[in-house]
């Protein structure tokens, strides 16, 4: 039964892909199929949730790739969480996409929805991957199927952005990730994700785990840890729904998710402490947080600012895991959720502003709150959540990460979090202030964006707050992840 659900979670988006490409001539039918597919996917994932909460770990073997290595899917709490977030937000994003793509009269909409569905299928594959090879397979498919989305406009800039996007993601994955996977196989003879990690005490004494750790962390380029972050701003040439779901949720979260998963299930949190020099990760992540925030502060282009903000928040997740304490791992898992909901709201708002007014710069947004109150309120919620102000989900994750930092007595992390909170405030609050309290100097007349966009944006905004109050299930999943070793 649960095996079927796992297969279905990959098959449903793929089936959707087929139907979408067949109904390309009839936009209404095609878009309804996207929505139905998204809803089905969420439902299937929900059927798995109770089992995971009960402590079951259902698995499904796809096939044997080569002797000793299977393509295997296995659901564990972290993957469950990621799959639920991605598939849940896909529904909302589809509503948004329909509004956005039609309002902006984008071309090749069928290709857009097809690639989107494939991307979701591979995201599910990443979420449920039972070993490194399976993870790698879906990781690469995700990179490739999002390339047409990034280059959607087919312009010179799109092509350039696509090159950087593909270049960085493919090179890091082949050069570091595949290398690390091969080495892990050679070193340990297994690629399975196991709760306590796959290295034995003897192996931990060598310097190889540290090297592997470096390779894995940089190999997962999707996590956008500096210096391999350049693809994320480059990918912003894509239409906004792509930036919203893929480059705030699915792709980047697949990155940090993979890092968390590898650190927890290949190394094992308890073992990571024993690796001498393992703290480099904390410093790298800390540096990325601060540096990206500073760049965000200086960017006038709204999407670019959001992109750098994403880079910094991705490193929050990595920073949390790098503390190597259970409570912080839980914070990391929560931050994957929190950032997903908040950042998608922000991107939705940016897209709404573009759709209604064609404005893309922060400096042009004076007084826009009066014309587009719902949009800017949603924006404010998303921003406040990321700054970490209750009652928004962002507070919750920051709370756990901070407690983890105190647990581990890492003053560096505490300092980074405080500083980045200030920086977050510094790059978000002026936008909100200007939108509501400055007067509009150019008088082009426009109102809110189309209804579909508003609905999507409002729901993620509301969810960012609602999840703060209804976070039991997320937290209990989080506890299971933290207790995984």
């Amino acid at each position: 039964m649960s095996e079927t659900s796992i297969f279905l979670s990959l098959a449903i988006p793929l089936g959707g892909t087929l139907l979408i490409s067949l109904t390309g001539e009839k936009p209404n039918l095609r878009d309804s199929i996207t929505l139905v597919t998204a809803v089905c996917l969420l439902l299937v994932n929900c059927t798995l949730l109770p089992k995971i909460l009960n402590g079951q770990r259902p698995e499904a073997v796809l096939m044997e790739l080569f002797p000793g290595v299977d393509l295997i899917l296995k659901v564990e709490p972290l993957g469950m969480l990621f799959a639920l977030v991605a598939s849940g937000l896909w529904i909302i994003n589809s509503i948004y996409s329909i509004g956005y793509m039609r309002a902006n009269k984008e071309k090749n909409q069928t290709r857009f929805y097809v690639c989107f569905a494939i991307a979701l299928s591979s995201t599910m594959g990443i979420a449920y991957a039972g070993n490194l090879i399976t993870l790698f397979l879906f990781y690469e498919i995700l990179t490739l199927c999002t390339y047409p989305l990034v280059t959607h406009h087919g312009t010179h800039e799109a092509r350039h952005g696509g090159r950087i996007y593909l270049g960085i993601l493919i090179s890091t994955s082949i050069l570091f990730l595949l290398f690390a996977i091969g080495w892990t196989w050679h070193f340990t003879g297994t690629l399975e994700f196991v709760p306590n990690g796959i290295f034995n005490q003897e192996q931990l004494q060598t310097s190889i785990p540290l090297i592997l750790m470096v390779l894995f962390v940089f190999g997962v380029g999707k996590a956008a840890i500096m210096p391999f972050h350049g693809w994320l701003p480059a990918a912003m040439v894509a239409p906004t729904p792509v930036s919203a779901l893929l480059h705030a949720v699915a792709v980047v979260k697949a990155g940090v998710f993979s890092i968390v998963k590898i650190l927890v299930y290949i190394f094992g949190i308890a073992n990571l402490e024993k690796i001498s020099g393992g703290s480099w990760l904390m410093y790298t992540a800390g540096f990325t947080i601060i540096a990206a925030s500073v760049v965000a502060l200086k960017s006038d282009n709204l999407k670019r600012r959001l992109a750098y903000s994403t880079i910094s928040h991705l490193s929050y997740v990595v920073l949390a895991v790098a503390l190597f304490v259970p409570i912080a791992v839980m914070g990391a898992a929560l931050h994957i959720v929190a950032h997903a909901f908040s950042k998608i709201t922000l991107f939705f708002a940016a897209g709404a502003i573009y759709t209604a007014s064609k404005k893309t710069k922060v400096s042009e947004l004076h007084g826009i709150g009066k014309r587009m109150p719902i949009t800017m309120i949603a924006f404010a919620i998303g921003a406040l959540s990321l700054i970490g102000i209750p009652p928004a989900i962002g507070f919750l994750s920051k709370w756990y990460i901070l407690s983890g930092a105190f647990d581990a007595q890492e003053n560096f992390v505490v300092a980074v979090i405080i500083m980045s909170t200030l920086l977050n405030a510094a790059y978000f609050l002026p936008i909100i202030y200007a939108a509501f309290f400055r007067t509009d100097d150019n008088s082009k007349n426009h109102g809110e964006a189309p209804t579909a966009i508003i609905i999507a944006m409002a729901s993620t905004g509301i969810l960012s707050i609602a999840l703060f109050f209804f976070s039991d299930q997320i937290i209990s999943l989080g506890y299971q992840i933290a207790g995984a070793y």
Binding site: E140, A158, G162, F179
Partner: protein, 496 residues
């Protein structure tokens, strides 16, 4: 009764079909004969493969002359694997060929094409199946001479030049090989490979033996286009008719690699030449050079067939790299890649054949916007490109995985890193094409199109059969990996 004659029939069927083509001369009839002969040959290979699975080694005495005096056909797990590759590709390509040949070769030369195609097939199969050193030379010459004709049949005038260049270099290679074989005969008094390896094993290393090895290695390396002896290859591939390119790219170099493996591991293997001479190191360095230099050159090509020809030189580097150190995983990776690269490159040139029908000689510029006008062909090219890069889920990944494992087993992590780095070059040259086909903002497409706007179904089907097998063998590795693993095991047993 017939089943015991299979090894002979493997050669005789295409060999006898060839003169029929010359006699009949009708374009369609010669094609039908070739298709028939190729498929019968393929069937025989399958039967042989099954026989080897049960019997282990098949030894066939030509004309009932007992070896080592008579010619022996000796089939073990390695050459049956190569036979299967060559004959299956021959069969499928012949099925694909008709519409392409009609456009790319003058009507009155069709029978010549098919005659030389069949002879080439005969030669390649003969080289693979025979257990006799001089017989190898004879078949090699049959395949080479017919290859020169195949290349020269290209309509572009450069084809003649390319064929001539290959003729010169190929003849040098063949001469070296025959000198090597002659020296071996002087030393041992036998031409039977199995016998040779026994006798060489009993001897201590002598100068003539080293000279023989040197001549053979250089001669074979010329044939397999090992960097820097690859100079004949790019032009030959670029200017030959599409069908010929496809057939040659997928088979000819692969057979030469088989020869290298056979001589290095089987014939010379027992005389410890591998451990006492820097043959491995030389191969290693040249392979690395091929991987990097040929890939880099490929990036700068405008002609797509030439680009993929350089890519072939680079990919051959991966194969010879695996062959350069005697471990089971390394040889497995080498032979798996031999197989995977044959189908990948075969698929690419088949697809390019389709492209050529539309736009003539495919160049980067002319391919702009192809994603729209030829969606299936373009999608196929993307998939094959991914296989060249070694993206998981494609055949190319499997070979790369084994190659990396083999290198790590040796403890050469830097080399693993270099292998991966070189595949990034493949990303660049593949993506240049992908970008041109799909993401181009120029509206200048469509002006250079030829008359036909639809692709012949038979060609598309065969091409896509290859494309799907690129994916299929990326997931179902039991045939390719197990076949290669068995072959590697046999080779290493010879070495002991």
């Amino acid at each position: 009764m017939i089943s015991s004659q299979l090894p002979a029939l493997q050669i005789i069927v295409p060999l006898l079909a060839a003169p029929f083509c010359v006699i009949i001369r009708n374009s369609r009839a010669t094609w039908l004969i070739s298709v028939l002969a190729s498929w019968v040959t393929f069937g025989i290979s399958i039967l042989l493969y099954l026989d080897v699975q049960t019997l282990g080694v098949i030894s066939y005495e030509m004309g009932n002359w007992a070896p080592p005096w008579g010619i022996e056909y000796r089939i073990d797990s390695i050459n049956v694997f190569v036979l299967l590759i060559v004959s299956s590709i021959g069969a499928l390509v012949s099925l694909y060929a008709y519409p392409s040949i009609s456009v790319e070769v003058d009507e009155n030369k069709h029978y010549l094409f098919w005659t030389s195609y069949l002879l080439c097939l005969t030669g390649l199969l003969g080289v693979t199946i025979t257990g006799d050193a001089f017989n190898i030379f004879v078949f090699l010459e049959i395949s080479s001479l017919s290859t020169y004709v195949l290349i020269a049949l290209g309509k572009n005038r450069h084809a003649l030049y390319a064929a001539f260049r290959y003729l010169i270099l190929g003849t040098i290679g063949a001469t070296f090989i025959v000198i090597g074989i002659g020296l071996l005969y002087l030393l041992t008094g036998t031409l039977n490979l199995y016998d040779l390896s026994m006798r060489l094993g009993d001897m201590s290393l002598t100068q003539p033996q080293l000279a023989a090895l040197a001549f053979l290695t250089v001669g074979i390396s010329l044939k397999l286009a090992l960097f820097p002896l690859h100079l004949w290859l790019p032009n030959a591939y670029a200017f030959a008719p599409s069908v010929a390119t496809c057939f040659l790219a997928a088979t000819a170099t692969k057979v030469a690699i088989y020869l290298l493996l056979r001589f290095a591991y089987d014939v010379f293997g027992q005389s410890q030449i591998f451990s006492e001479l820097p043959l491995g190191e030389v191969l290693l360095i040249l392979s690395i050079a091929a991987m990097f230099i040929a890939s880099t050159v490929a990036i700068y090509q405008q002609d797509i067939k030439r680009m993929f020809a350089y890519s072939s030189v680079a990919q051959i580097g991966y194969i010879t790299l695996g062959a350069s150190f005697a471990s089971h995983t390394a040889l497995t990776s080498s032979i798996v890649h031999l197989f995977n690269h044959a189908i990948t490159k075969g698929a690419i040139f088949l697809l390019l054949g389709l492209v050529a029908l539309r736009i003539g000689q495919p160049t980067l510029k002319k391919m702009s916007g192809l994603g729209k006008s030829m969606p299936w062909t373009s999608a196929g090219l993307v998939i094959c490109g991914l296989s060249l890069i070694g993206v998981p889920g494609t055949a190319g990944f499997i070979s790369k995985w084994y190659l990396i494992l083999a290198v790590l087993e040796r403890g050469w992590w830097w080399l693993a890193f270099m292998i991966l780095a070189s595949s990034l070059l493949a990303v660049i040259y593949v993506w240049r094409v992908v970008e041109t086909m799909y993401v181009s903002d120029s509206d200048s497409r469509g002006d250079s199109h030829m008359a036909s706007t639809t692709s012949p179904t038979s060609m598309t089907l065969v091409a896509w059969l290859f494309v799907t097998s690129c994916i299929f063998f990326g997931f179902h590795t039991s045939f390719s990996v197990e076949g290669a693993s068995a072959a590697a095991k046999v080779l290493l047993e010879y070495t002991k």
